[in-house]
Point group: C2
């Protein structure tokens, strides 16, 4: 944990009794002085992985944009530091305090404001849960253009603040394209109403873009408008075994050409990750033949089932004939489709089974993408931290701290999740991983954080992916918006 | 012309002889002191509509990013004002000087840097002509995700600097989603290398977004990387006649559902615009029946001709059966498809036939979109400026200065082009149009500039679409990046 190296800043002030009384006049408050216990505050101080822990004694739950504005006006005047908090499902410690920063939790700001079925534009409060938004849209034959594992808890405001990527990016693009407007409260309490519902609006700097991915360091997003596509009438899922990483790339190129406009996911899982899912869950593997080093899950979504089936079948025949894939299966119904997705979506949980996981979420140019996994694995073996043979995890001799080095991810987006499963967090393993992984990424001009963001976990490493001039401009933007440094301090970039 | 009201600023200095000598040591220079005449400089001083005219006596044509950096370093030190210029095809006077600002023309910065066929990422100099980029991509079965009338002259750097919308936005989204990286020279000459080729990169503020649509006011874009889709194997074009604007909206909703992922354009042209195209070009109209008040052009692009044909035919049958359209025709080959597109793309030229056109490029929520045209037409009739009957333009009695009030545009993007064709620019007509049109737009929370941008033409009117807080933040951003105000002065927003 990097937080041990962070020093509390003298810039901001500590919360005092009169402050709490003032906040009580604005909105619901959780604090020891309002009779709440440490365990009441615990969910707001801890991230869901229980990796990061803050020490706040004050949580505010505003129910309107106006209340958020009143809160920040006051915090700004008093130089009180705050942490904006959505569903608190982040992976980099961005949504919990480091010290005693006030948590401003947006879960009570949770109304759908409007939806226009002709244009497909949804406008909603920041605290609406992603799955709730998507279910609402489903009733109107539309789809939220973002999907991710944490959908049952994460907020759409948090998704925008962290520029979440997820499973539908290949098809529906990034939030920088689909978000049409943002309502945000600036650090001094001013409300910035850039909540346009227009697809085209070239009237000055596109301010909302700055908030997308700014992780609560420039202001608090309170509302979002977003362009939502029609919900596809047909979805297909196929699962393939492949003998080489070159074959994975070839299959991707063929899928782009032949499935083209209906391709909605192209996910790769390495052989090791699939062995472990089988071992831990005890489930029967989707393909009966011999294990292969790579697997790919393809999803299509379109408006005409017959056409989509025909395209996918032609593609299947083609990749089999050409020997690009060695085996494959096509889901026959939604239950089978969900089961196939389980072999991809179940990986993160399975890898946590033995005690700990070192997670890297990186972008790497496609041709080199899997080399990182190979190189890290080789280094772990060299250093005697990983057994050379890929035996069952349960049979790993105790002298090896590392259970497995695996790679999987969104090939369609050049986004690799490198995961190193360990018995327990271990300094020897960390020494091999860092700065090796970051230096490796830098060499290929990749990104040290593809979709998870910086938070506290990556703020030290942003220099591996962004140049000095960029960092200088970023810091000047931060100073411009938040001169007192009260917004989500100690995170994102060092200032 | 608004420029008459602009005063030359005392902040910047005038170019002197030693300056020219210095620039000659950096890059090719056009100026009277290097033997160039006023007519050599004229193309750089005048926009293509010949509506805006500057008075520069110095044009620089750098051939590398390094040269642009050297130029701006010097201009910054000497407080010399500059105008970045791409293909100079803008419609709002943003790419020509107002007074004697130095023109930095990027046409010599015109190399394709790289293209990766697996990821579809193109990296190129800013001065590459859009059509050149698209033809290069066509050879690799890919497509530039932007298309517009000026493609034979406009630069991709200019497209990004003005956040061009154009004809493919409905299908491929805005440049905020497809541009992956920008290389820009900041006003002080520093090179900002944010030329990422990654689809996902959450490492700090997304700086490139600020440059998209900033119209050369924050720096000069010298390079661009952009995600390019596969070139569709099949394209279809259909043309419909409709009896009401409600029917237009209904047809759009049906097209979104039934053509869904293959719908690549949904353009509306009003009856008046089509009468005028027929009258001026003498071409035979695509549909033989009686004239209707609205026409729609639909384009589909997909990977499988057979599937696309089937979808479009089913859609045709459905809209005919339901009485949504009264007549329709489907292009049988590319020549016919181009001819149908001519009825949409030929409108702007035709409207200029009588002497002048007042052009408004606005976003309006779809249900109210055409009301603006109706209201403007009614006001013109009321004021005795337009004949009440829609007779042939050639027969318009001389006392009416207005030939026609027409509306057409990208319905799929809620983007209307309101065009008022006149015999000559006329103060009486202007008085009826402004501020009426802008106030109308403001009332429905539309945009006074959907895709053309602000330039000098709209800088006075940005307040109709953006709030005070937004404008304040914009100005502070401008001051942060360009404290000396040397970048494209007198334009965009008032500072």
């Amino acid at each position: 944990m990097n937080t041990t190296r962070i020093l509390r800043r003298g810039l901001t002030t500590a919360v005092a009794r009169p402050d709490i009384a003032h906040f009580q006049s604005i909105c619901p408050v959780l604090s020891p002085s309002t009779g709440h216990t440490a365990s009441d505050l615990d969910p707001f101080n801890t991230d869901w992985m229980r990796k990061y822990r803050g020490q706040t004694t004050l949580v505010l739950k505003p129910t309107s944009t106006h209340q958020v504005s009143q809160i920040l006006t006051y915090c700004h005047a008093r130089a009180l530091a705050v942490v904006p908090q959505g569903g608190n499902t982040g992976l980099v410690g961005g949504s919990v305090p480091i010290f005693d920063e006030i948590v401003i939790n947006l879960s009570a700001l949770n109304k759908i404001r409007s939806f226009d079925a002709v244009s497909g534009v949804l406008t909603a409060d920041a605290g609406v849960i992603l799955e709730v938004a998507d279910q609402y849209l489903a009733q109107q034959s539309h789809l939220f253009p973002l999907d991710l594992g944490a959908k049952g808890s994460c907020h759409i405001g948090g998704n925008v603040a962290t520029n979440a990527g997820g499973l539908r990016l290949l098809r529906y693009g990034s939030l920088h394209g689909s978000v049409l407007g943002v309502e945000a409260v600036l650090p001094d309490g001013t409300v910035l109403d850039d909540l346009s519902t227009l697809r085209k609006n070239n009237t000055g700097y596109d301010l909302k873009q700055l908030f997308i991915g700014s992780e609560g360091t420039l202001g608090i997003i309170t509302g979002v408008s977003i362009l939502c596509p029609q919900r596809p009438a047909a979805t297909n899922v196929a699962f393939f075994a492949l003998d080489s990483y070159e074959a994975v790339q070839r299959a991707f190129t063929m899928a782009k050409t032949e499935l083209s406009e209906i391709l909605s996911a192209f996910e790769m899982m390495d052989g090791r990750s699939q062995e472990l899912v089988a071992e831990v869950t005890g489930k029967r593997r989707p393909l009966e033949g011999e294990a292969t080093p790579y697997y790919v899950l393809i999803e299509t979504s379109g408006s005409n089932k017959e056409h989509d089936d025909a395209k996918l079948e032609a593609f299947l025949e083609h990749v089999m004939e050409e020997g690009v894939v060695s085996d494959g299966v096509l889901a026959q119904d939604e239950t089978q489709a969900r089961a196939l997705w389980g072999w991809r979506e179940g990986i993160p949980e399975v890898l946590g089974h033995w005690g700990g996981v070192y997670k890297y979420d990186v972008s790497i140019p496609l041709p080199q993408l899997y080399d990182l996994v190979r190189d890290v694995r080789a280094r772990m073996v060299e250093e005697g931290l990983l057994s050379e043979t890929d035996r069952a995890a349960a049979e790993t001799p105790a002298e090896f701290p590392v259970i497995a080095v695996t790679g999987y991810g969104h090939i369609g987006d050049s986004n690799l999740h490198l995961n190193v499963a360990v018995r327990a967090y271990d300094k020897r393993v960390e020494k091999v991983l860092e700065p090796f992984v970051y230096e490796w990424i830098q060499k290929v001009r990749g990104s040290v954080s593809a979709e998870h963001g910086l938070g506290v976990a990556k703020r030290e490493f942003v220099g591996y992916s962004r140049g000095e001039t960029e960092l200088k401009v970023m810091k000047s933007l931060k100073d411009l918006f938040d001169p007192k440094g009260i917004m989500n301090p100690y995170k994102y970039i060092k200032s």
